[in-house]
């Protein structure tokens, strides 16, 4: 990977030698070496995310989802373009004959039933739409907003590690960069809301900014807690800190280090969903309240950019969640073995694992989206300030306490009881933290449940199955 960076620098130098200013050469080389591959990987995945979301939603809603678009149209287009001297009807017949051919037919069926081909149709439709700028909009803001949204979604990917060697830039302040660059989305949505000259968009924009700014606090606290636990802000090192030798490498993951980590993971996940404006926190878009919120006036590719930004952000959340809690790109079992492979093989395996973890996180996000109703904006804020921030703080302190006690235990043990490092000792500390903290949390939950009023009889009747008649 060092070689990759070297060639990037060499290309930048080459651009400069062609007479371009130095900074422009760097930017161009950066686009070629980093931005294009990133887009090439993330954009299709984000697009596929959209299709999978539609399929998942359909499955939960007794529907089929995208099921008709195949490759016949694409083949027709290709044949027509490839054989311009032939009549259109003849080309079409040829394309249809092609589709009837076994493997092509199989591919067509696969693409049709999974709805993947729909992605191409949607994309073409989106690009082909009229670029509509309503009268009275603030032209600059209206036009700039989609680009900012895309930028805000992609910039954090710079620091996301995909393998030991594949990372855009392993900044020592990685997490801070993620939080800062992600904040660009708030600006984009505000610009779109304000610049569209529409009352609904403005309401949506205002809601979004209030919400995103509020939810940066719990997200930041969660990140801080994990950073404290791992002792680093660099994402690459954070992954390395979760390395556990041996077959069961998932034992090193942050998620199972302490019950506080589990709560923290939930808090982070919720807050991150809220930050990227997805149900149940999609108050800014809220199609049943604000028509379509901040992107009411956006059409065609502008809307497409916002949609792409949204799906890219879900992908980012998946990646961050994986890095913070699920050991990043590490395999749940046999990580030691993968690390001993040659760099290329290691990279391929790790990228696949990372993508799988992201996809699972995205999938859960979609699952949530099609399950829950939407919060009201004041409830969204209340949830952030009264529930998530305190929870994150409690977990932060809990983790700090755990670390402190762990260190104390080690100190005591090595000072008085043991003379040599022991493999059992971390395990004992780990079990102790689970027992103590977990016990306290469970006790609290049980006490809280007992203190509550019973369920109203009407609700109990509605939610329990009717007695079977004999």
């Amino acid at each position: 990977m060092n070689g990759f960076h070297q060639s990037f620098l060499a290309t930048a130098a080459w651009f400069s030698s062609c007479g371009l200013p130095g900074w422009l050469g760097l930017v161009l080389a950066g686009v070629v070496f980093y931005a294009v591959p990133l887009f090439a990987v993330v954009l299709p995945i984000a697009g596929l995310g959209q299709i999978f979301e539609r399929k998942i939603a359909a499955a939960m809603q007794r529907r089929i989802g995208p099921s008709t678009t195949g490759i016949v149209g694409i083949l027709r287009l290709t044949v027509n373009l490839a054989l311009p001297w032939k009549a259109k009807a003849e080309c079409n017949r040829l394309a249809e004959r092609l589709v009837a051919f076994g493997p092509v037919a199989l591919l067509d069926r696969l693409l049709t039933r999974t709805g993947v081909a729909q992605l191409a149709a949607d994309g073409v439709k989106m690009i082909g739409k009229e670029d509509l700028v309503p009268s009275g909009v603030d032209g600059w803001l209206f036009r700039a907003a989609p680009y900012l949204a895309i930028a805000g979604a992609f910039l954090p990917f710079v620091v996301v590690p995909w393998s030991q060697h594949l990372v855009g830039a392993d900044l020592s302040i990685g997490l801070v960069w993620v939080a800062a660059a992600g904040g660009l989305t708030a600006v984009a949505i505000l610009l779109a809301g304000w610049g569209s000259n529409n009352k609904w968009t403005m309401l949506g924009g205002m809601r979004a900014v209030a919400q995103i700014v509020s939810y940066e606090i719990p997200v930041g606290l969660c990140m801080a807690a994990v950073a404290m636990w791992c002792g680093t802000l660099s994402l690459q090192q954070m992954v390395a800190a979760q390395y556990h030798p041996g077959v069961l490498s998932f034992l090193g993951w942050n998620l199972i280090q302490s019950p506080f980590m589990v709560i923290l993971a939930g808090t982070f996940y919720l807050a991150a969903i809220a930050e990227c404006q997805r149900t149940p926190f999609d108050t800014a878009e809220a199609e049943s309240e604000l028509v379509s919120g901040f992107n009411t006036e956006m059409s065609g590719l502008r809307w497409g950019m916002f949609a792409m930004a949204e799906y890219t952000e879900t992908f980012l959340i998946g990646a961050l969640f994986a890095v913070l809690f699920l050991g990043g790109y590490q395999s749940p079992v046999g990580e030691q073995w993968i690390l001993s492979l040659p760099p290329l093989a290691e990279t391929v395996i790790h990228v696949a694992i990372m993508t799988a973890k992201c996809l699972v996180a995205i999938w859960v996000m979609m699952w949530i989206r099609w399950t829950l109703p939407r919060f009201r904006i004041d409830q969204v804020m209340r949830l952030a300030w009264l529930k998530l921030v305190p929870l994150a703080l409690v977990c932060l302190f809990g983790l700090a306490l755990t670390m402190l006690l762990g260190a104390r235990i080690e100190q005591v043990a090595y000072g008085r009881l043991l003379s040599a490092p022991s493999a059992q000792l971390p395990l004992i500390a780990w079990a102790l933290s689970w027992l103590l903290a977990g016990g306290a949390i469970i006790a609290l939950v049980v006490a809280a449940k007992r203190s509550g009023p019973p369920m109203p009889a009407a609700l109990r009747r509605l939610t329990t199955a009717p007695a079977r008649k004999a």
Partner: protein, 395 residues
């Protein structure tokens, strides 16, 4: 938060919610004055779906108006049919000699289908309400159940939405073959699926939190604003025409009339949006009970071989009958509450005047009082919880 507790700061923004708004359920327009997210005043504006149905009635013969009652409230066309036909039958019965004799089986079929339609109407109401609250999945499950009702209707009366089934003097057709088994199977499915529906949305704490205490209507307000049906009962007023003024064969079936009781728990209040929602869910189950009883008690075949279903339209020669002079007001319990048909006859073949009283219209009149002080998202909740059907408002 009430509007008294909230002091308006700075300029207000006028916001047109509707007529083209995703959750005004058609083309209702609410002119909102908002201060940020908080609504300061709300003025409903109607007339976007006015089709002059009452006026058209004056140019049609009595039986010809039945298809128009389908279109007054197309979510529960059966119940509208029932109300109008009962009104005309009362009119005919006001003078000895011109009464219509309705076969017993037809009477059972009437309330059987009215209750099935109540189920499907409430399914739309609760499903669409969930969708307004941002949960799309429950809506499609509600609609999915409703499809089963529509299938039954389609097989018996030939249409899925505008049934024109209940006629003056009877019903249009007997049950199709195998209908009893189908309806019983639907009852089981409905009860089973409603449990899942309720676990998915009704018991959801976000949903509860959105609705608890929002737009609570006191019993006194509910009565003085003329709320009817589930909206009235949610406020704690125990009044149901099916039980208190039984029409048709409703006196022969057992059912409970649920009333609101702050179901949302600590934050809930009697008559809030959540109560209205839960009440509709309970009424679905009660209607299933009535449907089962209808099927049990209904004569298994037609009592008289010559006329199994009765009805004015069935016999072409009776078409020229004229009701006596007079007027009648007949009210029935629709899914959206009391629906009244005031029919005035001048003795000719066409009514002199038909006036329709609908539940949605009065429910909408309370918006002006309820909405100020709520947030924009709550306006959606209010519209949905009152189960507004816009064609019923405008007629």
């Amino acid at each position: 938060m009430t509007v008294e507790a909230y002091t308006v700061d700075g300029d207000l923004m006028t916001l047109n919610m509707g007529p083209h708004h995703p959750s005004t359920h058609g083309v209702l327009r609410l002119v909102l004055e908002v201060d940020g997210e908080v609504v300061v005043s709300c003025r409903p504006d109607l007339g976007y779906l006015h089709r002059s149905i009452e006026k058209i009635g004056e140019f049609l013969e009595y039986p010809q108006f039945v298809p128009y009652t389908d279109r007054v409230d197309y979510v529960c066309a059966m119940n509208s049919n029932h109300a109008y036909c009962l009104a005309v039958e009362q009119l005919l019965g006001s003078v000895a000699g011109s009464e219509v004799k309705i076969p017993e089986r037809a009477e059972w079929l009437r309330i059987l289908f009215a209750e099935l339609n109540r189920i499907s109407s409430h399914l739309v109401a609760v499903g669409a309400f969930a969708m307004d609250m941002g949960a799309f999945t429950p809506f499609l499950h509600g609609i999915g159940l409703r499809e089963l009702v529509n299938d039954i209707f389609e097989k018996t009366c030939g249409a899925r939405l505008t049934y024109n089934y209940i006629t003056i003097g009877g019903v249009a057709a007997d049950l199709h073959a195998g209908a009893e088994a189908e309806i019983l199977a639907f009852c089981d499915t409905c009860e089973r699926e409603m449990v899942r529906f309720n676990r998915l949305i009704t018991a959801n704490s976000i949903f509860k939190g959105r609705l608890a205490g929002v737009a609570a209507v006191s019993a006194a307000d509910a009565v003085s604003y003329g709320l009817v049906g589930p909206n009235l009962r949610a406020s704690g007023v125990d009044f149901d025409l099916r039980r208190d003024e039984p029409y048709g064969f409703y006196s022969r079936v057992q059912f409970e009339v649920p009333v609101g009781g702050a179901f949302a728990g600590a934050r809930g209040r009697v008559g809030d949006s959540y109560d209205r929602f839960v009440l509709r869910c309970i009424e679905i189950l009660e209607s299933v009970r009535i449907v089962r009883q209808c099927l049990e008690q209904m004569p298994k075949s037609a009592a008289k071989a010559d006329d199994p279903v009765g009805g004015w339209q069935v016999d072409a020669n009776k078409q020229l009958r004229k009701p006596p002079r007079g007027e009648v007001y007949c009210r029935v319990e629709n899914p959206r509450g009391e629906t009244g048909y005031h029919v005035v006859s001048d003795g000719s073949r066409k009514p002199y005047r038909i006036k329709i009283r609908t539940g949605s219209f009065t429910a909408m009149s309370i918006f002006e009082k309820l909405v100020p002080g709520l947030m924009i998202s709550d306006v959606v909740a209010v519209i949905g919880s009152f189960d507004i059907v816009v064609p019923e408002i405008d007629r």
